[in-house]
């Protein structure tokens, strides 16, 4: 080997070794922090959330690490599109984090042994202070398998008052029914340019899967599976109406044919590419942080329903829970952090709800009082809408496996795009749901859950 080649190879190896030393062999672990020495390490994984939420997570981790000297919390942000595979790979390798944040129902994860029950880890008084709606989404068979951070409605209507005014609509009167929505879209279409739309809703299977659960219940009075989970129940003419609603919006060009961004993002609305959007209450938090000019002219209302009745099943409610992995290496230390952050001084948790523009409901009464007393609450009129007009009329997220949500999401998308008639789309969904019921033995699972 020539001397120069040898030197180059040696330099490359040294660089590679240096780079490797910057990282760590443990997934999710950052470079060694001297402050971690001698402490019990706790791995904590979260998603990318809205700007104020991300800032809050970073702050509490820093504060917790500074507040005591026994535990060192290592927080890692995992992007949503990599979440499932990263967590699954870590579970397979036995390196799952001690604590992670989970949206959606916990039932399947609790039933299949992925989560550690928290009743013996956390103080009974702390668990007793959890509000009823938050309990509903955090328990399985009467035991806590996650500690709720918040509950929030997942489907509300946002409208841009300025654009309403430009289109000759009353800026203080958002639509409440499907018919009124058609009228509003027709008027707004005249003021929207190329690549802009009166409304942004779900247009893909996944987003339809979780955003339309309440609408399915509202129009038909039931979900697309029997209560004992033994038979599919998707072939209902009322569901055809729901598909036709989205198909009309699509055929008229009032909603885009392709998603304008992530299903849980308010970006297109913030960029004024759309005049209205369906979005969870967290949308206001994103608008307030990233699009303050648009936030100041934004109104929030319950999402439109077929009959304009906004007093039942207008949205699902749920969201972020902190869960402890069933194989957590440091469950006690993890529980101490949960107790400190979510169950301790309400002042630690309070800023989370204030900074997210009062769009999320605290999961503990004590925290709700502190948040409600914040002077800034008076400047957040949408908060009243969320908590008084939306939250009381919500239903919990569906408990059945996600594949069933997806089957209905597929039906909505196929019918909306006109690939098949609504009846044919629902017939396919019916077969798909029945296949899942039989394959997974859902009737037995339901009986086990109810036991």
């Amino acid at each position: 080997m020539k001397r120069r080649t040898l030197l180059s190879a040696a330099a490359a190896s040294a660089t590679a070794a240096g780079l490797a030393a910057c990282g760590s062999g443990t997934p999710g672990q950052q470079a060694e922090d001297p402050a971690a020495e001698g402490r019990t390490p706790v791995e904590f994984w979260g998603n990318v959330f809205t700007t104020p939420e991300n800032a809050w997570y970073e702050k509490i981790v820093e504060d917790f690490n500074a507040a005591q000297e026994d535990i060192y919390l290592n927080y890692q942000v995992v992007p949503a599109d990599a979440w499932d595979q990263k967590l699954k790979a870590a579970q397979a390798a036995g390196t799952a984090p001690d604590l992670y944040i989970q949206a959606g129902r916990l039932d399947t994860a609790a039933r299949t042994g992925l989560l550690m029950p928290l009743d013996d880890l956390l103080e009974p008084d702390l668990l007793a202070g959890v509000t009823d709606p938050a309990k509903e989404i955090s328990q399985y068979q009467g035991q806590f398998y996650g500690f709720p951070l918040l509950v929030e409605p997942q489907m509300t209507l946002y409208w841009n008052r300025d654009l309403f005014e430009q289109a000759g609509l009353d800026p203080e009167a958002p639509p409440t029914s499907w018919e009124a929505m058609y009228d509003a879209c027709e008027a707004l279409a005249s003021v929207m340019g190329n690549g802009e739309f009166p409304l942004n809703t779900a247009v893909d299977s996944d987003t339809f899967g979780w955003t339309t659960v309440a609408a399915q219940m509202h129009v038909a009075g039931h979900l697309p599976i029997s209560e004992d989970w033994s038979t599919a129940d998707a072939e209902d003419a009322k569901y055809e109406d729901l598909i036709t609603f989205y198909k009309t919006l699509q055929d008229e060009g009032w909603i885009p044919r392709q998603p304008l961004g992530g299903g849980n993002s308010a970006q297109a609305f913030g960029e004024k590419k759309v005049a209205m959007m369906s979005q969870g209450s967290w949308g206001m938090s994103e608008l307030g942080a990233d699009y303050p000019e648009v936030a100041s002219v934004t109104g929030v209302a319950p999402w439109v329903q077929n009959d304009g009745d906004l007093t039942h099943s207008i949205s699902t409610i749920g969201n972020m829970k902190w869960v402890v992995d069933a194989k957590a290496k440091e469950p006690e230390a993890t529980a101490r952090f949960i107790s400190w952050a979510l169950g301790g001084d309400p002042e630690v948790l309070g800023p989370f709800f204030v900074d997210t523009q009062f769009t999320k409901a605290p999961a503990r009464e004590e925290v709700a009082e502190v948040v409600g007393a914040d002077p800034a609450a008076a400047d957040a009129p949408w908060s009243e809408v969320v908590f008084e007009d939306v939250v009381p009329h919500c239903i919990p997220e569906a408990q059945y496996p996600w594949d069933i949500n997806l089957a209905m999401g597929d039906a909505l998308q196929a019918g909306m795009l006109g690939e098949v008639s609504p009846a044919e789309a629902l017939s396919t969904a019916q077969k798909e749901i029945q296949k899942i019921i039989d394959r997974e033995g859902l009737a037995e699972i339901r009986a086990e859950m109810d036991a």
């Binding site: 499932d84 579970q91 299949t112 885009p256 392709q258 297109a268 597929d410």
Partner: protein
């Protein structure tokens, strides 16, 4: 004995030959050991575990052939395989023809132009598939994308390239062809340069034109290389994964859910892993069968100088 004598002489190996064989085994050992650890043993494990409802957290339950049965009766699995074949038809022939044309051009122009051509065509091969996917997502963006801006110029309204089931698979095929063009073109150039010039000189003396020289000399002489590219292109194309994962997630309405993505979506979504393993093994059988059929139809043969 009359029979045993020649048999014994066949077994007798020259000492230097034996040394060569030992050296060959030593040279092969690292790759064989690595393949055994990372391919063979996981494959055996996969076959074993596919008969279980396997979870990482609870005791596995033996379920016999249930997982294979679930896959075989699942229309979505077969739809994904058919979609994969459709994707192969969209990408492999286009890629082969384009590579052949570029390779023909590169071998007939001056050396400097040929170098520029080879470098330009090879650049996409060193770009990460994820980066290419993100780039094309931006190009296909519904509101503000480059492609829609271009078609707007000629009066055509915005199209949902990734949101319309009619377009989505083709929209993913474009970057797939672009990314694969470099390697296949370079292999074809190498094969073309390997054809003796005397063949072409003789043909030119007989008055053969470019088309005749291509059909009667170039393509027959490249038969083995074309077969290789056909089979590797087929397997690579039907196993395409990252493009649909990043660009569409398999949507709209499953229009881009290719077989590997179908399996992956089950892997990350299912409570148990048995279904994904069974689907992967069955896909292996399907791909192996189709590849062997291609080999049978297009026989490879040794070139005769």
């Amino acid at each position: 004995m009359a029979i045993s004598a020649p048999a014994a002489s066949r077994r007798r190996v020259h000492p230097s030959r034996r040394q060569d064989t030992s050296m060959a085994y030593i040279m092969l050992a690292p790759v064989l050991i690595l393949l055994s650890i990372f391919v063979l043993w996981p494959a055996i494990q996969a076959v074993y575990l596919s008969f279980f409802d396997w979870s990482f957290y609870t005791d596995s339950e033996f379920v016999g052939w249930k997982n294979f049965h679930d896959v075989l009766v699942d229309d979505k699995f077969w739809d994904a395989v058919l979609r994969g074949l459709q994707f192969v038809l969209m990408t492999v022939p286009v890629s082969m023809v384009l590579s052949f044309l570029v390779a023909s051009l590169a071998t007939s122009v001056s050396r400097r132009v040929s170098t520029v051509l080879k470098v330009s065509i090879y650049i996409p091969s060193v770009i990460s598939g994820v980066i290419a996917s993100i780039t094309f997502v931006i190009i296909y963006d519904y509101s503000g994308g480059l492609l829609n801006a271009l078609i707007n110029i000629v009066g055509v309204p915005n199209q949902a390239w990734l949101g319309d089931p009619r377009w989505a698979l083709a929209a993913i095929a474009v970057p797939a062809v672009w990314l694969g063009l470099g390697i296949s073109t370079l292999i074809m150039i190498a094969a073309m340069l390997d054809i003796p010039d005397s063949f072409y000189e003789a043909a030119q003396l007989e008055g053969a034109n470019w088309w005749q020289r291509t059909v009667y000399i170039t393509i027959p002489q490249m038969k083995n290389v074309l077969l290789f590219l056909l089979v590797t292109g087929f397997v690579g194309s039907i196993q395409q994964f990252e493009l649909p994962l990043v660009m569409t997630g398999g949507g709209p309405h499953g229009a881009t859910e290719l077989p590997n993505l179908f399996i992956f979506n089950h892997f990350r979504g299912d409570a148990y892993v048995g279904y994904s393993l069974a689907a992967a093994l069955l896909l292996f059988v399907v791909l192996g069968t189709i590849s062997s059929v291609i080999f049978r139809i297009v026989n490879s043969e040794k070139l005769v100088d």
